[in-house]
Structure formats: structure tokens, C-alpha cells
């Protein structure tokens, strides 16, 4: 097993493609996405029952080294500040 950083992000589905572009630009080589995530937060109830993605979240997670994780955080901080959402980084063991 190898030490790695797990970056988890929850953001409005509507901004998903923009966020994924940013991740790739900073060198993230792979990620997983849950597209239809509902929940509750500072933007109110995200019930996911609209025809647009206005009230729906997406969950993204990726595993990377510490340097890339720092770049990811810096790249997405302005997005989170502008549109809302959360991002956490944790230490994990990557089974290889």
C-alpha cells in the first residue's frame, strides 16, 4: 500500500464540467464522479428534483500525491468561493 491524498469535492452539478477541466489542468490523471447527489447545505435543500441541475450536487473524488493535492486545492478554492460547495483532503492508503 502506498500513502496518498484523497481529495473529495461536492459542488453544484451545473459546474461539474468546469471543475473537471480545472482538475485535469493541474495534473489529476483520474477521478470518479457521482453525478446525482442530493443533500442540504448553505445553498438550501438540494433535492435534485428539477429539470435543470440547479438543485443538484455532484461528488468528485480523486487520489493523488501531496503536491498535486495542493495544486487541486488552489485551483478550486476560487470556484468554491464563488459558487459554494465543499472540498476535503485526507490521508489514505492506496492499495496497489
Amino acid at each position: 500500500m502506498e500513502k496518498a491524498k484523497k481529495v473529495e469535492i461536492v459542488i453544484d452539478s451545473i459546474h461539474l464540467s468546469y471543475l473537471l477541466e480545472k482538475l485535469q489542468k493541474v495534473g489529476v490523471s483520474g477521478y470518479s464522479v457521482f453525478k446525482d447527489v442530493i443533500g442540504m447545505g448553505e445553498r438550501g435543500m438540494m433535492a435534485g428534483d428539477e429539470l435543470t441541475d440547479v438543485f443538484k450536487n455532484s461528488y468528485i473524488f480523486t487520489l493523488c500525491d501531496e503536491e498535486t493535492a495542493n495544486k487541486v486545492v488552489e485551483a478550486i478554492r476560487p470556484i468554491l468561493k464563488k459558487y459554494g460547495g465543499i472540498c476535503t483532503v485526507s490521508d489514505v492508503l492506496w492499495v496497489k
Partner: protein
Amino acid sequence: MSLDLLMQNILNPAIMMFFLGLFAAILKSPLDIPQPLPKLFSLYLLIAIGFHGGYELAKSGITGDVLKVLLLAILMAILVPIYAFFILRIKFDVYNAAAIAATYGSISAVTFITAGNFLNTLGVNYGGYMVAAMTLMESPAIVIGLILVSFFAVKSLNDDLNGNTSRLNLKEVLNESLLNPSVYILLGTLIIGFVTGEKGWKAVEPLFGNLFKGMLAFFLLDMGIVAGKRLVEVKKVGTFLIGFAVLLPVFNAFVAIGLAKIFGLSKGDALMFTVLCASASYIAVPAAMRMSIPEANPSLYVTPALAITFPFNISFGIPLYYTIINNIWG
């Protein structure tokens, strides 16, 4: 408004399905339509209405009268968000006022389709070019909303992510306005319907013509559920916005009826034009506003459009507007 006309509208299967969904949500029934299906129904309705409109347009041809209607449509799509914005500024900040104004400046395709259904029941025709008018009315409000923000916002709270202070990123605005799914699919199917004409329409009619009313009823069931869930938020938006969500559409309808009379639109076209001006977008514009004006609260622009204006228009508005038009046109 005659009671007969009102009852005839409300006793339509599609409208009753809407209320069935609405009451399911109010009574907390676990009735639910799996998520991808409403999107499919919505696409189906847009394709059907676009295709049929294109076919009707091919039959009637693009005449001076058609261009007149299209110009009127654009005029109203620009005017409505501007005066709506100044009314909303009484209570709301620039961001929320602009986002709500854009929502009410744009149109609701489902209200339009329901009005078409209402006219069909009465045996009154409307031109296929009204679909083109609808397509043209969807986007200007988005652009006007962004222009209003860039004019009236004291300073941008959150400047563009790239550091640009201008909110009018031309590429982004055009992308939002012209390539949003409903505009794209409506315009695309309108062109396909126009180019393929009667032969094309006959080929797709079994799916997009014969099944239309049933699909509309199914879609409205879902709309009822969604609107019912949003009803709990109505109290939070305040009495000003609740009043606005009913009175602005009625005011827009009066302006539209006046313009339709002055410019000599037929009775059917006048109703469809009126419904377009009186309806509010709860699909295309909210998505664009969430992207472009993140400072605005989506509950304030989605809830009134979806939970007040839409049910009002499809149950009372359409027969009310038609009664007025019928009395004036004779």
C-alpha cells in the same frame, strides 16, 4: 371569464394530472417519477413542438406577417425583463432582481404547449411560426439579466474566476443563450421540420404527434410533484414576490394582448403570444442564472416561477387570457 371555459380547461386530462402530482406532494405521498424520465418527457415535448412548428412553418411559408410576429416576440423578450427588474428593485438587491427579471422575461415551453392543447380542444388554430417566436423569446432575457447586473451592481462581489471584472464574457453569454438545451433542440427540430416538410412530419407523427397528449399528461404529473415540493418554500419568498408572480404575468398578458390587437394577430396567435409573454422560465434561465449570477438565491427565482406562475397560468391564466382575447376579437 366564463365558468364553462375555466372548467373545460381544468377538466383537461393533462391539467388534472398536474394537480394529481401537486396533491401527491402536498399530501406527502411517496409517488415519484424516476429522475431521467422527466428529462426524457421534456425533450420529447420540445422535439414534438419544434418539429410540428417547423412543418407548419413550411406550409405557411415565411411571410411579412410571420416576421412581424417574430419581431414582436423579440421586443417583448427585451422589454419584460427590463421593467420587471425595476419593479423588483423595490424589494431585492441587484443580483436577485436581475435573476428573477430574467426568469420572467423568458418563457415556459410547457405553458405554451398547454395553451396549444387548450386551443386544439376549442378548434382554434395558431401558426407554426409561434414556435419560432417561442425559441426567440427564450434567450434575450438571459443577456438582459447579465447586462442589468453589470450596469447596476455597485461592484462585483466575486469577480470572474480569471480575474476579469467584466461579467459580460461574450463567449459564455452566447453559449448560455444559444446553446442551452431547450433553445438548441427547439431550433434544431424547427429547422428539421421546416426542411423535411409534410413528408418528414408524416414519418415521425406516430411518435411525436399521436402520443403527444399522453406524454404531456405524464410530464405534467411530474411537474405537479416538483411544483408541490416547492410550495413549502413559497412562504419563505415573501408576499411581495408571491404577488409579483401572479400580477406581473397578468400585466404582461395585457401588454401582449394590446400589441397583438394593434399588429393584427389572429385569435390563436394572440393567445399563444400572450401566454409566452405571461409565462416564466424554470428550466433554461435558472441554469443560466446559477452559472452567471451566483450571488442570486435560486429559491427566489425558481420557486415563484414553478410553484406560483406556472400553476396559475395553466389553470386560470390561459382561459382568462382567451376570454379577454375572444371578447376583443369577437
